[in-house]
């Protein structure tokens, strides 16, 4: 039986959700929470409609529009017609199928991966899916959370299950204490730099070790958020007292006796002693520096103190060509110091770093300083709740006084589906998660960094080691 052998966190959550195992090992896996947004759902609802099917568990589903809504002047409606049609389509679908929805003018609206934990909709031990790869974020709660395609969105809407093969277990243990100036973002960028963008393929990564335990929930979400950039199916962190304290009092979380019952179960989820992982990677947090990506995938990352790598030094021909293309696309010179790169735009936000803790970190750097001449710096809170909280703390005033833009919540320049885009050749220090060619707008050049590093870049006008600003 499954419980005779020591199990990992992933094993336990998986086992608790297997409805049926088919003869070839494929499992019908039960899904506790399904988050739906405007971009990957229209074709799924259309599929249901054509087949005459209903949503099986509207009470396990939540919808929100985030990807292509404007982050300015939202009350006046959405100007871009195709974006407006997608949002209106979602609004029609949630009414027709009875799915709970946070309207775009409500404070609960925000990026789907911010609002799940914030509302207590995403809880430990759950299976959570969404038609978006960064669903891995919710794994910070100690849940199994992963992104799915639109056909699978339709599958979950119709059956509340997915057909899945069990992933392998990978352990990433981060020992030691994180140095001053380094954050969860630097941990996860460093990990991707080590294991590569396909290092986690086929695996669910469990992040563990003292440096992970020491992170608050926001930091844990940042780490799990980017596990997909290492190719992993999901990232998870075992629930602990930090998790339980975070859950307490969240609007949709269980309360009172029900919460205590839930916590009893959640305490049983961490890996058993002797549980076996298919792969293990160990990292010492004490050796880290603030990180910054130089190329066009998140694995192309260096410490801020380093220089642009020289593709000529790469022995493998295909890799050499790829590195050379990155250097060219990014407009770099091999050997150039990262801190010599001047930037045009700063973007602080996204499901990676759009939480209140991130905005506090940016404001701490911005306070008493000013955005450098010629730089456009925008701060986009991850949800209406984050925005309200930041305003209650006066962070908006600090940022505005320093010359930052203070905008309405959404995905914004993380993927440039709304009007917030880079123009060709513009260089951007961004707290988002992807630096692919054209991700933030055609021809745009993205350097991924932490919120403090992004704010530092804004006030100096170049990539800057935040530790030098003190």
């Amino acid at each position: 039986m499954a419980d005779s052998k020591p199990r990992t966190l992933f094993d336990k959550v998986w086992d608790a959700h297997v409805v049926e195992q088919l003869s070839d090992g494929t499992c019908v896996l039960y899904i506790d929470r399904h988050l739906v947004h405007e971009v990957t759902s229209p074709q799924a609802f259309e599929g249901l409609r054509l087949a005459g099917r209903k949503v099986r568990r509207p009470d396990a589903t939540i919808a929100v529009a985030d990807h292509n809504i404007p982050t300015e002047g939202r009350a006046n409606g959405i100007k871009e017609e195709d974006s407006r049609i997608q949002v209106e389509t979602l609004e029609r679908n949630v009414v027709e199928f009875g799915v709970p929805y946070f309207p775009i003018m409500s404070p609960q609206q925000g990026i789907v991966h911010i609002i799940g934990p914030e509302q207590g909709i995403s809880l430990p031990g759950m299976t959570i899916v969404c038609g978006d790869s960064h669903t891995s974020t919710h794994g910070a709660m100690g849940s199994l959370a992963f992104g799915i395609g639109t056909s699978e969105v339709e599958h979950v809407l119709a059956t509340q299950t997915l057909l899945q093969n069990r992933a392998k277990n990978m352990l990433v243990r981060v020992d030691g204490v994180l140095p001053v100036g380094c954050t969860a973002k630097d941990i996860v960028l460093a990990i991707i730099g080590i294991i590569g963008t396909a290092g986690g393929t086929g695996h669910v990564i469990e992040f563990a070790g003292p440096a992970i335990r020491a992170l608050d929930m926001a930091g844990r979400m940042t780490v799990c958020n980017m596990s997909i950039e290492a190719g992993a199916r999901a990232g998870m962190i075992a629930p602990d007292e930090t998790t339980f304290a975070y859950v307490r009092g969240k609007p949709y979380a269980p309360k009172g006796e029900a919460l205590e019952q839930a916590i009893d179960w959640w305490r049983s989820l961490p890996a058993d002693a002797g549980a076996v992982y298919d792969k293990t990677v160990v990292l010492d947090a004490a050796t880290l520096a603030p990180m910054v990506t130089w190329g066009t995938n998140p694995e192309a990352v260096v410490a801020v103190t380093a220089t642009v790598p020289d593709p000529a030094a790469e022995p493998d021909e295909a890799k050499r060509a790829q590195l050379a293309r990155m250097v060219e696309y990014m407009g770099l010179v091999p050997g150039q110091k990262m801190t010599d790169l001047t930037i045009d735009v700063v973007f602080i936000g996204s499901c990676t770093n759009g939480r209140i803790e991130d905005i506090r970190a940016a404001a701490a750097i911005a306070k008493g300083r000013h955005v450098a001449a010629g730089v456009r710096a925008m701060v986009v809170p991850g949800s209406g709740i984050v925005r309200d909280q930041a305003e209650a703390e006066g962070l908006d005033k600090i940022l505005l006084a320093a010359g930052f833009e203070w905008r309405e919540p959404g995905c914004s320049m993380c993927l440039g589906m709304n009007p917030d885009k880079l123009t060709p050749g513009q260089r951007c220090a961004s707290t988002s998660n992807r630096n692919f060619e054209g991700r933030q707008g055609p021809g745009g050049r993205t350097h991924l960094v932490s919120p403090a590093m992004a704010a530092a870049a804004a006030v100096t006008g170049r990539i800057t080691d935040v530790r030098e600003l003190g």
Partner: protein, 206 residues
């Protein structure tokens, strides 16, 4: 979904690793509420310049490859976002099979749901097929799913592995939802058990 049995066609060589879904279909083309019509934007930035003119050096803009039905690439194909618009764009262009050393998980899953066959073969074999593909129209590849082989123009048969359940669905053009609904009684039982054992789990309503 269309069945996938055998396919003989032109293969386009795309010797790139880490072809991400933003490359396959940039985010600005995701604002559709339909599955079709995305083929014209497939590989948009590689295929067209800023003014929308074709880049002649890109493989899909060249003679026989305009009708390619097979794509051959390097490691980690389809990494990045979960957008099913990536396989929709490939399919709409006419690609029914992608061959690479390995694929990103979500993309791999998404191809099957759309009747596209992803084939994993070792890098050295992919490089051989890449050479075949460079001969364009003169070197068609044949994929036989039932037999699980890729047949090279010289007649060599290369075996590939595929999950038996996925193979069954592809060969018969079956969609997953009707398969899963055959297990509806188990799902009912699971839910009944969950109501008992996880009574703490709240429902969502707004």
């Amino acid at each position: 979904m269309d069945k996938f049995t055998t396919l003989t066609g032109v293969a386009a060589p795309l010797p790139m690793a880490n072809v991400d879904t933003d490359k396959i279909i940039p985010a600005r083309f995701l604002k559709t509420i339909k599955r079709t019509g995305l083929g014209v934007h497939l590989f948009d930035t590689l295929r067209f310049d800023a003014d929308g003119a074709e880049r002649p050096e890109f493989v899909l803009n060249q003679g026989p490859y305009r009708k390619a039905e097979i794509l051959i690439a390097h490691e980690n194909f389809g990494c990045g976002s979960s957008r099913e618009h990536a396989p929709w764009a490939l399919l709409d262009f006419g690609i029914r099979c992608v061959i690479a050393p390995d694929f990103a998980d979500i993309f791999h899953n998404n191809t099957f749901k759309n009747g596209i066959l992803p084939i994993r073969l070792p890098r050295a074999v992919c490089d051989q097929l890449m050479e075949d593909a460079r001969q364009g129209d003169n070197a068609r590849l044949t994929i036989d799913l039932a037999e699980q082989v890729v047949v090279r123009p010289n007649g060599e048969r290369i075996r590939f592995e595929i999950d038996p359940f996925r193979k069954h669905l592809l060969l018969n053009g079956l969609d997953d939802i009707s398969q899963t609904l055959q297990h509806a009684p188990s799902i009912d039982n699971y839910e009944a058990r969950q109501v008992q054992e996880k009574s703490w789990m709240p429902g969502i309503s707004v």
